[in-house]
Point group: C2
Chain length 501, copies 2
């Protein structure tokens, strides 16, 4: 048996994980690099996945009282400068618009012309430009809360990019809310973190830890940053979403003030929260195997591909009719609130190759239909969460009537698998030796260890092992007090360490 | 009666149409100008309208075999230059990114740094950047057609901007397709024009004329530009959507070649087509009245607002319960494929003012519920397409059971009204005197007149009257031959003249 037949993706995860990742993105036709430095082209299969992510999240946002709006792509430089830490955090990675037209230069080639009085930054995030608008909208406590989300593209000039995980331009949503009190703003910050957790687990089948970031890992300008952290199959953590409690920092910078119930002028409290196309990278690295992508059914662009197996022309018409009928029957079913989505792939190419293309794309179910299946009123089914060779025959009627159940079972199976993987690769660690061994000789993973709370210790661990504190769990004191794994100083509870993307 | 009570918008359409437009956009809370030159903030009510437009159009695109994808925001300058007419058309209005970070200048203020080797243009449209990708994707006739659409933001540095109608940044969709043959590409161009027409008429209730643009009005680089043209209430035309037959111009510029069925290398044929947030401007100017916006029910963000009329605290709880029940009953109904969307506005503000806010926002139905209505099991209804004072009582049961019918009737009424307006303001004109009178002394409108087919005549009419040829109807020869209204030279048929946005 040739190597090609055994594995669709080369190299395997074991051989070279980062390269495996790139090859999965390519083979699944999710995205590719464009000729523009660090910017990707999101291909139809990848974009359909993003549309489903958007629809799912948007449902949660609306259910929690948020509405969508749209704010400008450009931020005047002076706005970005209003919050000192914020601009400091983004200054090194800003795309700057300096001119507003092109004209022929001395050699006849076009050059930028019409220099702007004030340069415009392409939004890396929108706190400052949205804040300027909110300052105009908010007069009284009656105008609060403002609960707005924006779906948009943003640009951060990253030096090293990787498809979905870190790109110069990416798609995301950014929620920006304004509140009367500190308590309400904090409640919102936590609420949206929990929305992210729920979405990650219920839609993406990707278990996440939640907690606070350390001071050094906070969003520039935030008082507190909360995050969801997932464990990838190479045992590195992925920060998959963040929710920021901004205190009054940005409200002060933008002048968001209101007349309180007591008639006093007060400064508002704000939050912001976002997830991006990075989530797609997280799904690939959580579920993908050596055969390619595996789509969790709740987000899969299509649930089923029907593959006609045609051996001669006389069968063709009948088989195609049976396949199309099967698609119609399936589409009348629904799973998790949307109709079952079916592709009938009747392209005239090699059947084996065609099947493998769908394996790599990660479609949940492949249904092969040949003359014998047709005669028996049957179908031949392969589940993407099982081995590529594991197929079973079934009557069509039964397959159709149990489709939602099967997809639900796959969704659960993927989540359970990911939870088991995380459990296997999470360790309570109490000595520096063990800590070093875990990350240097072992595969790494989530290390739950005591930390003395100092930046110095955090930095030392990062310098020596490239390991960071992923989060301080909300309930970290419940893990019991102990001694810092580095300094031996007292610690109130365990925090989560890992290497990360 | 105060003036305020008679009209919600000041000035009226009659008094000052452009200013009326701005005031409607403001009062309906659709959008506002941002501090960034020419860029708008699309407010939640306006964005929800755009979301409905997007959903509606996306359905048509998918039904005609298209899929969505996403391409980079930035276009290398050299790509834009590949098509000479194209770059010529957009050079004067390009936002140009020249630097990729900010650093402290001599006086400590941040200045652009990290100059790019090649400037990047923020996409004004994506033919060239998408073409570069397609050139890689297309090898053989088997890879064709490519039928992709993108929902995106684009930037054109316009000198005079107006909310929705002409803004520096706007939201749009752009379809980009590649075909094997000229015939197929032309068929696609026409098909998508008809999709736009159907959407404009069935969703927006805005009748449109269709036809070809003259050479001078074509998209830069296109062989032919088709358009939909609507007539606004000030008798000016609005170009609401365009579909371009690009021939082989862009395929040559980007190198989109394929091996044909006969094994020869051939250059592909491409099309592009787009509509934008400008459609919202078209809806305002087609349906709006002196009381504000009127939302066609098929696109309205919400269909019904329930307004509790509470005169004292003892009634409050009961009335609120009755109102909420009414909302639940309505939401169980559906209209045009989506559930009826209902807002219960229980804000503690003046009831008259509250009602006017919803009139201005253009919500199709306002339902007032006071103690007496409640006791009678009734509701008190106002339709936005009727006068603001025209209200009727009805049993709640009847109102709920006929809601889809009423909304459908409103949708039809708005379309019929707009068609009647267009008919009243469309004139066959056969002499220059009459032509001048129509546009100079009269209100103008669509003039169907003979044209000799020369650019010279077209220019003369534009210079003298600021009137342009909006389109050459596909069937223009059926209107019969005649003599050019300016030169007296022979003409094969009538073309459509108007002043325009």
């Amino acid at each position: 048996m040739s190597k090609q037949a055994k594995t669709a993706i080369s190299p395997t995860r074991e051989e070279n994980y980062p390269e495996w990742y790139q090859q999965v993105v390519r083979a699944a036709e999710l995205a590719e690099n464009s000729d523009v430095r660090g910017c990707m082209v999101i291909k139809p299969w990848g974009y359909a996945l993003w549309e489903n992510i958007r629809t799912g999240l948007d449902g949660y946002f609306k259910a929690t009282g948020h509405v969508n709006a749209y704010f400008p792509l450009f931020i005047p430089l002076s706005y970005l400068e209003k919050e000192a830490e914020h601009v400091e955090g983004f200054a090194k990675e800003c795309a700057v618009v300096t001119h507003h037209r092109l004209e022929a230069g001395p050699d006849g080639k076009l050059v930028p012309a019409g220099e702007l009085e004030e340069p415009l930054v392409v939004r890396p995030t929108s706190e400052t430009i949205i804040g300027a608008t909110y300052a105009k909208w908010v007069q009284s406590y009656r105008d609060l809360p403002i609960l707005i989300n924006q779906w948009a593209n943003v640009v951060r000039w990253e030096m090293r990019t990787r498809l979905f995980l870190r790109t110069t331009e990416f798609l995301w949503q950014e929620g920006h809310t304004v509140h009367e009190t500190k308590e309400e703003a904090w409640e919102e910050t936590v609420k949206m973190l929990n929305v992210y957790k729920q979405f990650a687990e219920e839609y993406m089948a990707m278990p996440v830890l939640i907690g606070e970031k350390t001071a050094g890992e906070r969003f520039p300008g935030a008082v507190n940053t909360l995050c969801i952290e997932a464990l990838m199959q190479d045992c590195k953590a992925l920060q998959a979403g963040t929710s920021h409690f901004l205190g009054q920092n940005f409200a002060k910078a933008s002048g968001i003030k209101f007349q309180s119930r007591e008639g006093r002028e007060e400064t508002a409290w704000t939050t912001s929260w976002g997830v991006s196309t990075r989530l797609i990278g997280g799904m690939i690295m959580t579920h993908g195997d050596d055969d390619g992508m595996i789509m969790p059914p709740r987000l899969a662009p299509s649930h089923v591909v029907v593959l006609p197996i045609i051996r001669n022309d006389t069968d063709k018409e009948k088989i195609m009719q049976y396949c199309n009928e099967t698609a119609v029957l399936l589409r009348a079913q629904s799973y998790a609130g949307r109709p079952v989505e079916v592709v009938v792939d009747d392209r005239d190419i090699n059947a084996g190759e065609k099947g493998w293309q769908w394996v790599k794309k990660g479609i949940p179910l492949r249904v092969e239909i040949g003359p014998r299946d047709m005669e028996n009123g049957g179908v031949y089914v392969a589940r993407r969460d099982k081995g590529a060779k594991e197929k079973y025959g079934q009557s069509r009627a039964e397959f159709v009537s149990t489709i939602a159940e099967v997809l639900g079972d796959m969704q659960k199976n993927l989540f359970d698998r990911a939870c088991a993987f995380r459990a296997e690769n999470t360790r309570m660690i109490d000595s520096w030796d063990e800590f070093v061994t875990f990350f240097k000789e072992g595969r790494g993973g989530f290390a739950l260890a005591h930390w003395d709370g100092t930046e110095e210790t955090e930095q030392k661990i990062n310098d020596e092992l490239s390991v960071t504190i992923r989060c301080i769990p909300f309930d970290y004191e419940q893990s019991g007090s102990g001694k810092c794994v580095v300094s031996g100083r007292p610690s109130k509870g365990r925090v989560v360490f890992a290497k990360s993307y």
